[in-house]
């Protein structure tokens, strides 16, 4: 029993790490540009499929390194072509626009790679089990958690320590002043969007290795990321991280006792948080 709970808790935390990785990208974009990027799940799928295409040529590690960067470039192009045009307008329009993009990306991936799950093989030395007693501790899972931790640490390092990060944080608080101080806000938002999409692409490669790759992978992962942001509080990146881990762990533990409720439980958590703290666990009142 203990092992079962541990297994599912760990599993939940891994899933939660995914949610957090995706939600952090969403949050970055939302905080600086005020856009809820509904197409984020689509970019996640693009990341996965690009890795799938690249793997025969450059191997798993090469794909892991290159695919998220390519995804980010596609994201930057999408921002320039479409998303930039709805900045400053009613959030209605950015939502509709990214809804449309999400439809097109999902349908496009289905058109190119087919509707069925494509095989996505991770190196065999990663998929073997590390310990006989804790059978669930496969190398890939541990590796994934390590990579998510590294990515999140790098993100917070960039935001906290570099000039770019400082500008992003300042822009989140007061974009107009940042602009007046001589910083090109258009480029800043563009780069920031790319950074968010990079995280989506990375999550896509990792998710493909764990869940298998199919066109709907994005839309099945985006809702929990929304919940992660709401639970953590809009506007707070640490909150988003916490929210992701919390809902992942909760759904993992509930899986043990009542498997069919594992997806519903995260919404129950969201309802509770909204009742007790309407602006999320770490959110500030009045930002959104």
């Amino acid at each position: 029993m203990t092992q079962l709970v541990l297994f599912n808790l760990f599993n939940g935390l891994i899933i939660g790490a995914f949610y957090a990785l995706m939600a952090l990208g969403l949050s970055l974009i939302l905080n600086l540009s005020g856009v809820i990027n509904f197409a984020h799940g689509g970019f996640l799928a693009i990341g996965g499929y690009l890795a799938y295409m690249l793997m025969p040529q450059i191997g798993f590690w090469g794909a892991l390194a290159v695919a998220p960067i390519l995804t980010a470039l596609i994201g930057i192009a999408a921002e320039r072509l479409f998303i930039r045009r709805v900045y400053g307008r009613d959030p209605l329009y950015s939502l509709l626009l990214t809804f449309g993009l999400a439809f097109m990306i999902e349908d496009g991936t289905r058109f190119i790679w087919g509707a069925s799950t494509v095989p996505f093989a991770v190196p065999s030395y990663l998929s073997s089990s590390l310990s006989n007693e804790f059978f669930f501790l496969t190398g890939y899972r541990v590796f994934m958690v390590a990579l998510v931790i590294a990515a999140v640490a790098a993100l917070f390092l960039i935001l906290g320590q570099t000039r770019l990060g400082m500008r992003i944080r300042a822009g989140t608080l007061d974009l107009e002043t940042v602009s007046v101080l001589g910083i090109n806000v258009r480029i800043l938002r563009n780069v920031n969007f790319g950074l968010g999409i990079y995280l989506a692409g990375l999550a896509g490669v990792l998710a493909a290795g764990m869940l298998g790759l199919q066109p709907t992978i994005g839309s099945s992962l985006i809702m929990p990321s929304f919940v992660a942001i709401i639970v953590g509080g809009l506007g707070s990146l640490p909150g988003t991280l916490l929210g992701g881990l919390l809902i992942g762990a909760a759904s993992g533990v509930v899986t043990v006792f009542y498997p069919s409720a594992s997806e519903a439980v995260i919404y129950v958590m969201m309802a509770l948080v909204l009742l007790v703290r309407p602006h999320g666990l770490l959110g500030e009142e009045g930002r959104f």
Binding site: D90, L95, F99, M223, I230, L234, A264, F288
Partner: protein, 316 residues
Amino acid sequence: MRLLDRRVANAVILLLLLTAPYWINAVGGYTALGSRVLVLALAATSLNFLLGFTGVLSFGHAAYFGLGVYGAGLTIKYLYANTLAGMAVGVAVGTLAAAIVGVMIVRLRGVYFAMVTIAFGQVFYYIAYQWNSVTGGDDGLSGWRRVPISLGFTTVDILGSDKALYYLILICFLVSVAVMAALLASPFGRTLLAVRENERRARFLGIPVDRHIWLSWMVSCFFVSLAGTLYALLNNFADPHDLRWDQSGDFVIMAVLGGMRSFWGPLLGAVIFVVLQDYVSSQTENWMSFIGLLFVLVVLFFPRGVLGIIGRKTAS
């Protein structure tokens, strides 16, 4: 003059809707398509009560629409094979769920409100999807049919006759729309407009803004679940996708496409959307891309919608 114009427009719309089953085949449609337009137009008009006239952005209306669908379907299948009873249960379930969710979200605004409505919308989708033994899961709820309505002196055969069903839906549509129009013309409706235009000022005037938004949300969700029950009757089927976020997006795009500042905008948007979807999905498997493209084009080039553009041209 403008009042006269509006009356003429209303009369023309009413005449077109009343005679639709008699000319729709001649223009390449079919009666069920007309019914579908009306049902989705009712949903979009209800959403627009909130979106266009209260200024609150809900992206989760499919949840209450879908609860209407499932409420009606489950009632007719398991409890009591009576069309009106099914409709009553569907509307009650949808409205009750909206009341509970409404309490939690009424303090949120803008992006936050939109996100939370989307997320809450998914709860019901997961329930319908997971609760296989009752709802049929991913395959949807089938194995039931709408039942002819017995009025005592006569029986309305909505099962056998497409036209009878169309007129039942039309009556529901017209009554609902009339109620919403009357509400908007009342002091309550004017207050909603004040909230939309300037919430802070409305608050300073002593208007209980949260309560008005909650009430507007309830009106909107009540009629959207009514539309859901009609949709269940129309299809003799409940599809979990009726509850999903993409359905919510469809409602919003109908309202925006037609013109969300105009009362009849969502109706026009529904006509365009349904006809387009019907045509494209008969031509290509990749209709989802075209719908997505429609979203993008509307946002980039027609944010005011068809009626918004016409209204602007005539005003200038």
